[in-house]
Symmetry: C2
Subunit: 175 residues, 2 copies
DNA sequence: ATCCCCATGTCTAACGGTTATCCATATTGC
DNA sequence: GCAATATGGATAACCGTTAGACATGGGGAT
């Protein structure tokens, strides 16, 4: 959970930490299930220390003044604005699997083709799950859109596994 | 850099930390450029503390006995074996961008379609870079294979951006 | 010979994301 | 009434990453 996501959610309205988590889960659909509240609070605490948000005592829950409402500071607001204008994308994370194949082969630990095959089965299973989940969501909803991205990702990764299979098959022939 | 990758590389042969990094970089091609040695040493230290590898004083460099050679312990060997048999895949990481769009729209910070457009340009640039890099690598090499995966990934993500554009265009019409 | 740069090799503090678990209070269902 | 659940908060620890520091030796330029 990137810090800026939390800040951006607070740009709309101040919230309790728990409420923030609920809003994030709502936006993520099934993919937000695994998000735990501890994560949100850790991030909120760090952001507060950095002066990007402030804590107010809840006014709404008159009999529960121990409840915190988190709200952006001007610095926090500015950070959100900057973030919106920034362009970034997650770093590719295929290296671990790639290195697994290489290490397994070079150390004689396993047949890379077997590893690829097993992985393919898992990705196919995940693909089916994601497609099923997407169809269960309302059309054009936030969750459906995100799941669509996951589906496309998995399809691309499966194509890469095909390429891995070909590559390692060829190497096996050579050696 | 996942711990098990380090362990698996050591399954082939014991190495200096710096040597390990070189071997990893070799396997990753251009994508390994950013990997710094500090990262490897942090991981090696943690693994040593966990009893998965041991340190021996370098015998090869007779006049440089302060050099360390890292080698697997039996527990480390076992962990590698287990890892090879495990099936996992990186968690999807499209949520941050997705939430950026949602937050920007709901807090009135920016037009999601503008964000998508800007991001698309960036991904296209990265795609060209990756394709160019792939062509510069020897055919069927480790680096070429990994770059192929990156290319496929970027293509999938661009497709998702198309879907995002459609989705948010439709929402704009509705509201 | 001396100096500087680079390569090999090692180390470390800090940041940020994640996870598991704990605590507190109020509400709901049996 | 009691247990389970929901709302709300907190924290230690782990792990990957990053930036930067340090040490030694070799090679090239002066």
């Amino acid at each position: 959970m990137q810090q800026e996501v939390i800040l951006a959610m607070l740009a709309k309205e101040a919230s309790h930490g728990y409420e923030l988590r609920a809003r994030l889960r709502d936006a993520l659909g099934p993919l937000g299930e695994a998000m735990n509240a501890g994560q949100v609070y850790v991030t909120l605490t760090r952001l507060e220390k950095a002066g990007l948000l402030a804590v107010e005592r809840s006014a709404d829950d008159a009999d529960r003044s121990d409840r915190k409402v988190y709200t952006l500071t001007p610095n926090g607001q500015q950070r959100v604005t900057e973030w919106i204008a920034e362009v970034s994308w997650p770093k590719p994370d295929l290296a671990e699997f790639h290195l697994k194949l290489i290490a397994a082969a070079s150390a004689g630990l396993a047949d890379p083709l077997t590893i690829v095959d097993t992985q393919r089965r898992e990705l196919l299973r995940r693909l089916r799950d994601a497609q099923r989940a997407a169809m269960a969501e309302p059309s054009r909803s936030n969750a459906a859109l995100l799941l669509e991205g996951i589906v496309l990702r998995l399809q691309a990764d499966l194509r890469w596994l095909e390429a891995c299979e070909k590559n390692w098959t060829h190497r096996r022939r050579i050696s």
